[in-house]
Amino acid sequence: MAPATPPRSAPLARAPDAADGSAGTPEAAGYLRLLCGWGLTAPTRARVARPGERAEVEDVLRESGPRGVIARGLGRAYGDAAQNAGGTVIDMRGLDAVRDIDLAGGRVTVEAGVSLDRLISLTLPLGWFPDVVPGTRFVTVGGAVASDIHGKNHHHHGAFGDHVDSLELLTPRGERIVCARDQEPDVFDATTGGMGLTGIVLAATLRLSRVRTSWMRVDTERAANLDDVLARLDAGDDRYRYSVAWIDCLARGRRLGRSVLMRGDHATLDDLPPERREAALSPPRPPRLAAPPWVPGGLLRRSTVAAFNEAYFRRAPRMRRDHLEPLHSFFFPLDAVRDWNRMYGPRGFLQYQMVVPFGREDALRAAVERLSGARCASFLAVLKRLGPERGLISFPMPGWTLALDVPAAAPGLEPLLDGLDELVAEAGGRVYLSKDSRVRPELVRAMYPRLDEWNEIRARLDPDGRMRSDLARRLGLTDAHSQAGSVR
């Protein structure tokens, strides 16, 4: 017998809370809700259904209207990737079963709604850690696949998709298929990084890495300027499994691009002082601080950010070796403040993340110069070397990636970022679709040269165009020979 599902004909109620990026009461049939991304910009309304198991996902997909469906996880995409105005959004957090853990081989099979937070708290005490984690552990496995996220080890280990053994995908036509590198490889490549537009990821088998402690052994060093940080990253990255640099986008002149490099590896038992060895694998603590529910606009203004950056740079040691740091503060520093996205005030913020290929350091320099010249307040800017490309429209490519948060209300932001987009596209680089909320659609084709190839596979899987998202509409991603924002 099929499990009882709520009646589909019930009138849709408006959920009580509005555009806060979180979800309302669990309900398979759905609520009308305003949704936005982590940046809290451009909310749109959708019917949000929260299925509790695979069969219910199939029901929701089958009953989706002309404006289609998209899956949503924890809403950490900054822009509109997990929104579907006028259509259906499937809140996948109800599919949270851990199906299998292989403690000998380091593999885990989980449903798509399982968060990395949950996965880590499950596997870390057993001595296993996901091969790839992003800057927050509050993302779902399904979201990690769709964004083909990368972490601080991309230069060595590649993206999330490189560590997925297989995926269970519900195709837009309602078939359940399994894909992997050697099984339906084109579907696998189109789905990892495919922004959820090839179907609904139901489950994934992931590879884990053996770790002995929940501590990191970290080297920290300051770099005086951009040349210095690039040289240090270039020279030293091979020695570090994880590497990232915090960069001060407000510093000017000789100090342009001054940075703090933070690089390290998992600590071994021998690295720990004896008193810590007993509970070496104790899992990370949950967030303890919360941002206030309402923050006036402009709290994070240039003066406060400049002061923060100055203090942050000076606080960092010039050179410190083998410092022990808790794993969660190394990987997920911002997770310590719940709802930190509200700190940018009511108009929200956006994250600009781009990559330019190695050899185009001139473009990177020009970008940092323009950001610094525009006095564009950002206290969260990171610089990192990325490794090989994979997938069809995955973001990472060999080169330098720069990511920074900026308040949406910052004056002059649009021409500044439009100019950066052109610079990046000209250099053969790209912006990250999971972060994007404003790129000019015309440039996406140049940034993602395999978009047509991806779109052919997508169209084969989804001939009726059931998978839809605001991101896809805004950028015309699913249009044949994508035309900017065309009629769809």
Binding site: R14, A18, A19, L32, L34, G39, T41, A42, P43, T44, R45, A46, R67, G79, D80, N84, A85, G86, G87, R347, G348, L350, A408, L413, E414, S437, R438, R440, P441, D470, R473, R474, Q483, A484, G485, S486, V487, R488
Partner: protein, 253 residues
Amino acid sequence: MKDALGAVQSVLVLGGGSDIAQATVRALVAGRARRVVLAARDPAGLEAACGDLRRLGADHVEAVAFDADDVESHERVVGGLFERLGDVDVVLVAFGVLGEQERSLHDPAAARAVLQTNFVGAASVMLPVAERLRAQGHGSLVVLSSVAAERGRRSNFVYGASKAGIDAFAQGLGDELAPDGIQVMVVRPGQVRTKMTAGMEEAPFTTTADKVAEAIVGGLRRGSHTVWAPPVLRLVFGVLRHLPRPLFRRLDL
């Protein structure tokens, strides 16, 4: 879709002949807007305006027939326009007539015509537009009101009453649609140098269509419910509307 910085991609203008509307669409096309439909009673007269928009970079520009006074046609016409344009990020209700106050005093039919177009016509077309926006789950509806809506004045109360009516209608509709994420924005310009006001004596704070367009684009970005053009008129009319009647009556307004 509207992006994170409030730039829009597609625009439908009802009353495409309006100078303010054309200036607004030009400003939007200079940003991200690529698809534009100008609906007007005389679409043939909009060729030049369409050409300008294409030169500015719009991919899809067309002028179509729309009669604000033919209220029976509104549902059908609006349905057709949304079909043509796909998702509509902004609908700008810009049609309107100024009428002649002197003539209206002695010719009820002339007064009715002003009320019919500016109030009945606009309200009639805004309802199906609102339904379509609600169905697509996003969008902005911009309505050209006027400072004349703020207080009945001897010199233009027929026009003022028609704008006061649509202004109140739009405010209420905006509150109705806010939970659906739909922005309804009332625009209250002062006197604007356009073909509508050609030959009129210039009032203080007279502005240009481009300035009003700038205010509209800014309001779309901020998600405002009301914009004034120029902004100082908000203060001026804030005072004027509270002046005691005997005093107000003595002012030659």
